[in-house]
């Protein structure tokens, strides 16, 4: 069939150029996910050995047992303070992420009457969370009931005894897997936008588009060739990103089947967003405008798709966008695979259909914008 052959020819052309510049092409494909994952992955990962100050006014057996429990894991590192005032100074300086005050009589008191005072540095949310969780689990182990309250008119950073253990994805998840799941989808969408659209616009600037249009081919094959190349580039970047993420400590809870499902979903994301990139490029005239428009479309979609924070935490007026954003479904599917451990066949099918519909819609839009060839020469 002519369309397939011509599409292949135009894809082949892009690949020959890719191969000719293989060093820079591959470097570009690697740099993008590498920097994203190293930066954003570390940014959000769970900290270890968080310094906390413990003021022990009790010195009883239970107090010592409690401190031992705190030190047993590698979540926190205990710094002893003699007075609460001294500890609070350390907290204010940011030297410690939390202060735990064990009041005198802690060991003798009835269980119900026991109170631990915990002050958390909210400006270091991740560290504070680790500290808080460690204190909670130690308190749990001692059989203490914990409750959350706050002190009115106190230091802004204070909270008193707390259980804030509220992981979105349960205790077994790690933030790295969460972030990398989102990043893979984001890398795929960005990779598509920054390869396919740009080559289309530069081809038009250089007159290549005119040359293609004067050949006896179906115009659609020009678009499909570009989309194929964009898909290749974006999927390549995202697969590199996946490899880097796995080396960096992310895990795929769903195992080998999950890996195959991931590869499939990323490919679909690349296809859909390449089609979108080509639609934008077919409409716009200047490379600069394209860069701007593509950014303003693809960046919010990544955020609203829940690449960094779960989409459920977004304000309600954004939820309609979340609902129609194909990235939302892709990110959810990837997180199911990487964190929850399995992706039901029905969900995989729904996700595939949503991404497929998105692709077809964008291809149609691209073809519509491309139909007036006088704008393409």
């Amino acid at each position: 069939m002519g369309l397939v052959k011509d599409t292949y020819t135009l894809f082949l052309r892009e690949m020959l150029i890719f191969k000719k510049n293989y060093m820079s092409s591959i470097l570009r494909s690697i740099m993008f996910p590498l920097i994203f994952i190293l930066l954003l992955g570390s940014f959000g990962s769970t900290p270890k050995n968080v310094p906390i100050a413990v003021v022990n006014y009790d010195n009883g057996a239970r107090a010592l047992a409690f401190i031992n429990l705190l030190q047993s894991g590698n979540g926190v590192q205990v710094v002893s303070s003699t007075t609460q005032q001294q500890a609070m100074t350390l907290l204010a300086q940011g030297t410690v992420a939390a202060v735990v005050v064990i009041p005198s009589g802690f060991s003798q008191a009835q269980e119900t009457a026991s109170s631990l005072y915990v002050y958390l540095d909210n400006s270091q949310p991740q560290s504070a969370e680790v500290a808080s969780a460690t204190v909670d689990s130690a308190a749990d182990e001692l059989g203490l009931t914990t409750s959350t309250s706050s002190v009115a008119g106190g230091l802004s950073k204070q909270g008193i005894i707390s259980v804030i253990t509220n992981y979105a994805y349960g205790a077994s998840s790690n933030y790295l897997s969460f972030v990398i799941g989102g990043l893979l989808v984001m890398v795929a969408s960005f990779g598509a936008v920054f390869s396919a659209g740009f080559t289309m616009l530069s081809d038009r600037d250089l007159g290549n588009m005119k040359a293609f249009l004067t050949t006896p081919i179906n115009k659609f094959s020009i678009l499909l060739g570009k989309i194929a190349y964009g898909t290749f580039q974006s999927a390549f970047s995202a697969y590199v990103g996946l490899a880097i993420g796995l080396l960096y400590g992310a895990t795929i809870a769903a195992g080998l089947v999950g890996l195959i499902e991931l590869i499939w979903i990323i490919l679909l994301v690349g296809l859909g967003f390449s089609s979108m990139a080509i639609a934008i490029a077919a409409k716009l005239k200047q490379i600069q405008t394209y860069g701007l428009v593509a950014q303003t479309v693809v960046m919010p979609l990544a955020f609203l798709g829940g690449a960094f924070v779960p989409a459920t935490l977004l304000p309600s007026f954004l939820l309609p966008i979340v609902a129609v954003n194909p990235e939302t479904y892709a990110v959810n599917a990837v997180r199911d695979i990487m964190i929850k451990g399995s992706l039901p066949v029905a969900t995989l099918l729904t996700t595939s259909i949503i991404l497929g519909v998105f692709t077809i819609a964008m291809m149609s839009l691209a073809l519509y914008f491309f139909s007036d060839t006088s704008k393409q020469i």
């Binding site: 011509d6 020819t9 135009l10 082949l12 020959l16 040359a211 293609f212 006896p216 005239k285």
Partner: protein, 332 residues
């Protein structure tokens, strides 16, 4: 089968308020080398783009090799080879790869592709550069590669949009002989646009002159020369304030002056040397300060002056500028 390679019927193309092609009709016979002459913005490229099916005409139609371009563009495009104004070779690919990609797009069967690439490389005299990147080629080599690319699928008609603009004289002559060659040996009809009268003169069987979207003259080079007169052109440059005085002196020695922005020109008619001599004497006698006096063969400018009438030149430059802007706006 029609004996015309191209038939243009009452073609009109408007971009907004600008009429780039204004009721143009002409035919190009099979086997001809036809030159479309005109200044920038005259409507040459627009005409070519319509012939290529890249633009839809506002009204009228074009028949290429007996096929209506609007009705059956894919079939018609297969019969045409095109060398565009911008040299379009992919700098990141080798000469062979460039040809291979376009050979495939022109639907050459893969069994014949290698042979056709060899033929094209041979034709363009680029055999030893087969595996060199096109980006390393000189302007002339790129243009030859592009021409060969346009011929690979053995088209019946070759369109060239200003094929020699920006090339040095060696490369220009080389392109000319290449075009003559393919016209004679392979019986390819050629339509080229050019700004150079000399090029059209050397190469073309027939010439059409367009300006402001209209076809203002059509004929063989000899016919056109007769139309504008074979005479040389005398040209006197002077300060703006003195141009009218210079024109008055021209009239004294029976020359028909045309006043441009910074010079006065006139066809010499026969006895060119005598006329120059008389003019110099008259200028000296009238004591009009001038900065330069020269005589040259008629250029495209002179043809236009003759064909569009005196005084037109003064405003044409400006009109062209604004016309091009309008054209540009119309397209974007």
């Amino acid at each position: 089968m029609s004996e015309n390679a191209i038939e243009i019927h009452d073609l009109v193309k408007k971009f907004g308020t600008l009429t780039a092609v204004n009721h143009v009709s002409f035919n190009i016979k099979k086997g001809e080398i036809f030159g479309l002459l005109g200044p920038n913005g005259a409507g040459k490229t627009t005409t070519i783009n319509i012939l290529l099916g890249l633009l839809q005409p506002t009204s009228g139609k074009v028949i290429v090799e007996g096929i209506d371009m609007q009705k059956n563009p894919v079939l018609a495009k297969g019969k045409v080879g095109i060398v565009t104004q911008e040299t379009v070779v992919e700098p990141e690919l080798t000469a062979e790869q460039n040809l291979m990609i376009f050979g495939r797009l022109y639907q050459i069967p893969s069994s014949e592709l290698k042979e056709d690439i060899d033929f094209a490389l041979d034709l363009a005299d680029l055999k030893e550069f087969r595996n060199k990147l096109a980006g390393t080629f000189s302007g002339g080599m790129k243009r030859r590669l592009e021409t060969a690319k346009a011929l690979m699928h053995a088209p019946e008609l070759l369109l060239l949009d200003e094929p020699t603009t920006g090339l040095d004289i060696q490369n220009r002559t080389r392109i000319w002989s290449l075009l003559r060659d393919i016209n004679k040996k392979h019986n390819v009809t050629i339509l080229l646009t050019t700004q150079y009268l000399e090029e059209a003169d050397q190469l073309c069987n027939r010439i059409g002159i367009v300006d402001h979207g209209k076809l203002i003259a059509l004929g063989t080079p000899t016919e056109l020369r007769q139309k504008i007169g074979m005479s040389n052109v005398i040209e006197v440059s002077a300060d703006k304030d003195n141009l009218q005085k210079v024109a008055a002196v021209f009239k004294k020695v029976d020359l028909e002056p045309q006043v441009l922005t910074n010079k006065v020109i006139a066809p010499t008619g026969s006895n060119a040397v005598g006329k120059v001599e008389a003019l110099i004497k008259a200028i000296t006698a009238a004591k009009v300060p001038i900065s330069n006096i020269s005589m040259h063969e008629p250029t495209i400018d002179d043809v236009f002056l003759k064909l569009t009438g005196s005084g037109a030149r003064d405003t044409t430059g400006e009109y062209q500028g604004s016309a091009r802007t309008a054209l540009w706006r119309g397209r974007r």
